[in-house]
């Protein structure tokens, strides 16, 4: 078919009515702009909120849960094997929180190609002695370098440096809330008591601020070696292995696999933080709904304008048909008009959307809860732009479809005789 001719006719019809066309195109531009901005902003915010937890959360955590043994002795006894044994008052066994054979597990994990990195950790309950008061807290023994690389630990150390805990012997980074409670300045020495009753002095080298206050009121960080010393454990003592995967979506499957191979508990990020997923999902859903509603409204605008244009151009349609243009050609002409409104309106919308996003990205946004954030968060995911582009074409196509069909069905005899 002679597409070039159809497009040139469509272009002439469009330009002859450029004001109407412009209004229709502005409708599309506006909706695409808002669609892009809304999604970019909303997703940026989602990422930020998720980042609060998810960035710091390992994709898979290997640990030993304190829980009653599944294989109670009675079940192992040959004479009771065939019965269903009811056991009451089962207590958790003298379970060790230590991961058995942690060194060889880590060695195996290092070789696994699905894994982006891992960092060992010891979590231990302690008391901070502040004069006569004991404050309950948690000390995390970490590998500061790996922890920073994989879980952005350094970003949350607001005063001091994350690496200092490895440089200064017997040092600790306190949660901001915790430090305020104890009035502990950098360089001060705080006293710790372990659950076993041993006291220990540690030097404060930094403050940690996560944005979650309750978290900051109890947590503190030291090196693995320091915590091992604190607890009187050997150098192989590790309670957690934190794994970061290359593909987060595989976490549940891989967690199951690891739990089986290493005979530990393995928790994946999706299970641990299901509520964040739900929140993000709903926020994204709302943004899409609003964006698509805007587009549909713009679609109705195009529908109206095309309808009007077709009534105005009935004579032209009749003459085109009389001189040999088939209904199909007429339909294509009007579809081309609709789609070009969608195309150019959409293109402008994408540009404006990008501009508006970039502008919002520059607006200062300071909050005590989010130490790393200086401006409003924006996500520039190209997928949004792709969806915007595709939707602008689809909506305008459908908006143009009905008027075009009407134009294609117009009977030239009736129009010409009607004069």
């Amino acid at each position: 078919m002679n597409l070039k001719l159809i497009i040139s006719i469509a272009k002439s019809l469009l330009l002859a009515r450029w004001k109407q066309t412009l209004v229709a195109a502005i409708g599309v531009t506006f909706s695409i702009t808002m669609f892009i901005t809304l999604l970019g902003f909303m997703t940026g915010l989602n990422d930020l909120l998720d980042g609060l937890i998810l960035n710091r959360t390992p994709h898979i955590r290997l640990y030993n849960e304190i829980k009653p043994n599944k294989n109670q002795p009675v079940n192992l006894a040959a004479e009771y094997k065939n019965g269903y044994n009811f056991i009451q008052s089962v207590k958790s066994g003298n379970a060790r929180q230590e991961i058995y054979n942690s060194e060889s597990i880590m060695e195996t994990l290092q070789k696994d190609s699905r894994i982006a990195g891992l960092s060992p950790k010891i979590i231990s309950q302690i008391f901070f002695n502040n004069g006569t008061i004991d404050i309950t807290g948690v000390v995390n023994g970490i590998d500061a370098v790996e922890e920073s690389r994989l879980f952005h630990f350094n970003e949350y150390v607001t005063t001091g440096n994350a690496a200092d805990i490895s440089k200064v012997p017997n040092s600790i980074i306190l949660g901001k809330g915790l430090a305020e409670k104890m009035l502990a300045d950098i360089g001060d020495v705080v006293q710790l008591t372990t659950t076993k009753g041993e006291r220990f002095p540690l030097k404060v080298v930094g403050y940690f601020q996560s944005g979650l206050q309750d978290f900051d009121k109890v947590q503190s960080f030291a090196t693995i070696a320091t915590v091992q010393k604190l607890m009187g454990k050997p150098a192989s003592y590790i309670t957690d292995i934190q794994v970061k995967l290359k593909d987060i979506q595989q976490a549940p499957a891989i967690a199951k696999e690891f739990a089986k191979i290493f005979e530990t508990d393995a928790e994946d990020i999706q299970t641990a933080n299901a509520q964040f997923e739900t929140g993000s999902f709903i926020r994204t859903l709302i943004s899409y709904a609003v964006g698509i509603t805007l587009l549909v409204v713009a679609g109705f605008g195009i529908y109206n304008i095309l309808n009007m244009m077709i009534y105005e151009k009935m004579d032209s349609i009749a003459i085109l048909k009389a001189t040999g243009f088939a209904g199909k050609d007429v339909k294509r002409i009007f579809l081309a008009i609709a789609i070009s409104i969608g195309f150019f309106g959409g293109l402008a919308g994408l540009l404006f959307g990008f501009g508006l996003s970039a502008f919002i990205d520059q607006i200062p946004f300071n909050t005590a809860a989010l130490p790393t954030i200086k401006t409003y968060p924006i996500n520039y995911n190209p997928v949004f732009y792709l969806i915007g582009a595709v939707f602008s074409l689809i909506t305008t196509y459908f908006a143009g479809w009905f008027p075009s069909r009407k134009a294609s069905k117009a009977d030239p005899v009736i129009i010409i005789r009607g004069k």
Partner: protein, 225 residues
């Protein structure tokens, strides 16, 4: 024996709205190549209705219509459009130029649609037709800016662009003053006599009809002469 361009066999036509009325009864005639035919009759006698059937735009009729020896009965809408494009040129009472285009593009459109020649060639041919009708100066003017008489001449140029077998006119001079009517008539006459162009013109202007080569007179949906 000259070649039959158009042949109508037993054409009957009814209008169904609001009540069924028979508007054409047993129309039988043929037009040969080179004929200059006028269809006359009083208002409402069915001459325009007949023309729209002959033009293939109206497909709701009984009987047989042959253009260039081919029956139009079984053809689909797109095929009929092709026939109109290739074999029929139209001139209407109300000029019917597309105001969005200039005169030259108006003339070129059916040629571009036919897609038989490249655009350059179509443009060249369109200029020739305009020259032939003495309006080449208007070529680049917007269709809305030319006068009524000139518009009708542009419409004739457009009708000629694909060298149609037949040109059909529906009261082509009905909306023009005497001077312009004469110009248009002279063009038709020239086309018929110099270029052996077949013409079928519906008119109620007896003076116009008298000067053609053959008159088909209609009354109450029948051909009476």
């Amino acid at each position: 024996m000259s070649e039959k361009i158009l042949e109508a066999k037993n054409i009957n036509k009814y209008f169904h709205d609001p009540v069924t009325v028979k508007v054409l009864t047993d129309i039988n005639f043929s037009v040969n190549k080179g004929d200059f035919v006028a269809v006359t009759g009083k208002s409402g006698c069915g001459k325009s209705t007949l023309l729209y059937i002959l033009s293939t735009m109206d497909t709701d009729y009984e009987g047989e219509l042959l253009i260039d020896g081919e029956t139009m009965r079984q053809k689909k809408e797109a095929q009929l459009a092709r026939v109109r494009n290739e074999k029929i040129g139209f001139v209407f009472q109300f000029h019917y130029l597309l105001n969005e285009f200039n005169v030259l593009k108006n003339v070129m459109l059916p040629g571009l649609k036919l897609n038989k020649y490249p655009a350059k060639e179509v443009e060249h041919r369109a200029m020739e037709k305009l020259k032939m009708l003495g309006i080449e100066k208007l070529a680049l003017k917007n269709a809305a800016q030319v006068s009524g008489g000139e518009k009708q001449r542009v419409a004739i140029a457009r009708a000629l662009i694909n060298d149609p077998h037949i040109i059909m006119g529906d009261e082509p001079t009905g909306n023009l003053d005497k001077k312009n009517s004469e110009i248009v008539f002279d063009i038709f006459k020239q086309l018929a006599e110099e270029f052996q162009q077949t013409l079928l013109i519906v008119t109620h202007d007896q003076g116009f009809a008298e000067k053609t080569h053959r008159i088909i007179e209609m009354e109450d949906g029948r051909i009476i002469r």
